[in-house]
Symmetry: C2
Subunit: 137 residues, 2 copies
DNA sequence: CTATTTGCAAACCCTTTGCGCTGGT
DNA sequence: ACCAGCGCAAAGGGTTTGCAAATAG
């Protein structure tokens, strides 16, 4: 039982993830970490991410189909994805009243849930752009 | 403004999607459609899927990070993904009380939401298998 | 007949894996 | 010294794109 060695790359990856304002995709995380550790390899990020998840230090959320990661310990929360600017925000109140263990109608035992709200963030809602059609040419 | 020609492949794709019991991934959809139309190409499926989404005939949901598609017009619902057998079920009651247009604390204007519950489906909950490790060989 | 649509194959992500070398402990 | 961990590069899986041939209107 010796695993989990302390290496510079893990240190940096953890720091970047903890310092992020929201969830990061693996490539984003890689890019940010490379700012500090230029030689960092892709595989290391994925391996470390997997490790952190197994240890419960981080967990994945799926936003718009893309897996993103955030460090644990920010409490239960969900995300809001802006349809206009694409930014992702964390919501600190949970619109779902489903404690794990709840049995949902039909006999489904709930062990977790993921909620994502889509819409317009305060900034985009303010800039009175009423249309919601993506701009096509 | 002439688009949307009626072709055999689109006809089949639409039929498969509408006849599906739940959301399908693109590869699954492709496979099922090929049963009827052996020569069908991958690209056609993706192109048709994109087209259908633009026309509102279909929409994508993200389950466990995988994009899946379902035909519209089945009403608002969400999904339950079984941690044990991996099957996906449709839930007909919505655990979120957030009509579109709602303004969420902080000024977030909600235009849509996606909810996925994870846990054990009735069948798996019944077969008293407490472990959750996927079976590997 | 003309513009759209198709199938094929190549191109593109993103993620995982194999492998020899580096570096914790 | 030993072995976990690293970087590189190749492999893998899903999705997108370029292009010539096929086809709907």
């Amino acid at each position: 039982m010796s695993s989990a060695r302390q290496t510079r790359q893990r240190e940096v990856i953890v720091q970047v993830l903890q310092g992020a304002e929201g969830p990061l995709s693996a490539p984003e995380l890689l890019a940010r970490a490379q700012a500090t550790l230029p030689g960092l390899g892709t595989a290391t990020v994925y391996r470390t991410l997997k490790l952190m998840q197994e240890e419960g230090q981080a967990h994945a959320v799926h936003l718009d189909g893309e897996p993103m990661y955030e460090s644990s310990g920010r409490g239960h929360h969900h995300h809001f994805s802006c349809n206009s600017c694409g930014k992702v925000f964390s919501l600190h109140s949970c619109p779902v009243a489903l404690p794990n263990g709840t049995v949902y109608p039909g006999g489904f035992v709930v062990e977790g849930h993921e909620v994502t709200l889509y819409g317009r963030c305060p900034a985009c809602a303010a800039s009175a752009v009423p249309a919601s059609q993506p701009v096509l040419t």
